[in-house]
Symmetry: C2
Subunit: 155 residues, 2 copies
Amino acid sequence: MIEIERKFLVKDDSFKKEAFAKNHIAQGYLCSLAERSVRIRIKGDKGFITVKGISDDAGMSRFEWEKEIPVAEAESLLHLCEKGMIDKMRFEVKSGPHVFEVDEFYGDNEGLIVAEIELHSETEPFEKPQWLGEEVTGDTRYYNASLNITPFKKW
Amino acid sequence: MIEIERKFLVKDDSFKKEAFAKNHIAQGYLCSLAERSVRIRIKGDKGFITVKGISDDAGMSRFEWEKEIPVAEAESLLHLCEKGMIDKMRFEVKSGPHVFEVDEFYGDNEGLIVAEIELHSETEPFEKPQWLGEEVTGDTRYYNASLNITPFKKW
């Protein structure tokens, strides 16, 4: 239930032709504090409720709990959420034994593309594709819960 | 997913000998606004996550969504919750075709006993047991989410 993730900006959209999966994601927040968030997500034809906790100092490790729920229930719960909604396309791209999840944002976060990789330890090495840009792990501005309140276009 | 409930104070503890079930409940809140709360509950040997929405004007109808989750997961999620915890014993008491859930609170809410009945409509009649006191439906001070922040002993 502790997830170790590193997050990067993306230089260009060449990742798209390497993607093996592509899903639309709509998500809102029942609460969106950096130390405690409850997210409702519809990804393709599936619904999820996800609780995230506070991160460690480096921002790599974070408590995460997730349950799949019926899409109709996720839709009802989205109506309850705080104002604002995250709208993005998620591309999944293989990189050696790992998978990068690359999110292209729309709406008020148009122009932002972020790639995340999940690791087994904070020091686990991984291959960096040529499209991978600056690391932004631990920068809470890039938390989706933060982007919902202060979207990229307003930075 | 809309629940219709009426809430009452309780005059004395004579309800206890009429109870057909009794379970300890510990619960905390990931968020505890009157218009949107996310509750983690351990009731006996079961865990639950519950989302409640805003109520109508009379305070009888409220959106409610609940999923049972493993107790170990509920315990992890309780650690993430806002400061404070609701600690109470729930007694279930039959009254005609209905069931009253009677909660006796402990800790900072010691001295408070509240009975709730779930109805199919806002005008559905029900039998009032002799121990049933003043109606407090719609009084947000009695929301458990509110009691967690401003407990009964501080009123």
